[in-house]
Subunit: 201 residues, 2 copies
Amino acid sequence: MSNGLIVSISGPSGVGKGTVIAKLREMLPDCGQSISVTSRAPRGTEQDGVEYYFRTREEFEKLIAEGEIIEYDQYVGNYYGTPLTPLLTMSRGGENVLLDLTVAGSLALKEKFDETVTIFLLPPSMTELQNRLTGRGTEKEDVIEQRMANARGEIESAPKFDYVVTNRTVEQAAEEIAAIMLAESCRYQRRSDAVETLLAK
Amino acid sequence: MSNGLIVSISGPSGVGKGTVIAKLREMLPDCGQSISVTSRAPRGTEQDGVEYYFRTREEFEKLIAEGEIIEYDQYVGNYYGTPLTPLLTMSRGGENVLLDLTVAGSLALKEKFDETVTIFLLPPSMTELQNRLTGRGTEKEDVIEQRMANARGEIESAPKFDYVVTNRTVEQAAEEIAAIMLAESCRYQRRSDAVETLLAK
């Protein structure tokens, strides 16, 4: 059996990444989802390895030091991060994994694990991106300006990604990403077992 | 505008390449078709550049010598071949081109024009391939055996192709090839203009 794909999707804030990924999960229900690791305590019925992997701050910092955390952030004094090993385990089990990572996270993962398929989600235009950011109505003008500057900076990293998908509509973007996943599973490197089986006799 | 794709499909005799390509042309009616060049004389209302490019034997041999013919064959004393330049012209005009080439032809085209997307069509099994060849009912046993030996030799070249598609059903194979084409059109190299346009202002 060949490995499942590890597909990482990035794009600037406001591009609609969350909606496109939700649509994709609906289209590809068998796709594996990465479980984050956190240093916060479990709440209520939360179980280790279900909602999160729960680790102490010291354990989390050890994971960072070991290069085991693809990307992480701190929120209200707790770490939240994406661990590498569970992805590789799912992939080796033949499961495709879809990841929502920052630009830096996607590039770091590609660097560590060259088979990663990286996709950059673009807005149809900068005006449209600004409209989407403004449309949320929750941010002040200077925050929007800062976000637009960040977006430009991130879009400048698009050439480092394998694929570029423009999010004109959720359906079109999700379909293009699904096509990329199907195509990547047809790459000779991932189908060499089919050829070997045919020639085995 | 970015270049159209040049997609070349190869596979052993009996694998069902013709049927899969016919299905694909139905699904993707905008796809360009390569016009062969021949040294035979035009018949009836046949026009140069429509049914064929008509050239003299001397002109055809000059095209071969110039590396302008990707692959050719002789049939009843006439040359038939696939010319390179019209493909590049269609691609530069933004048109995707779908080609049906021998294994040697696909690899020669990839060598000359690295952007070519090469796809190898596999049978589900060697037994199924033999059934398909026998099912035609037109060939003697030793001819079938020779074809099977040729098929094995060709399948050994599959690792040199970008993608491998198993022809389980015409629909599944055509869909996988259509996904490969959509995915290839999303490669950063082919979408760099979208990124440059966004950052231009």
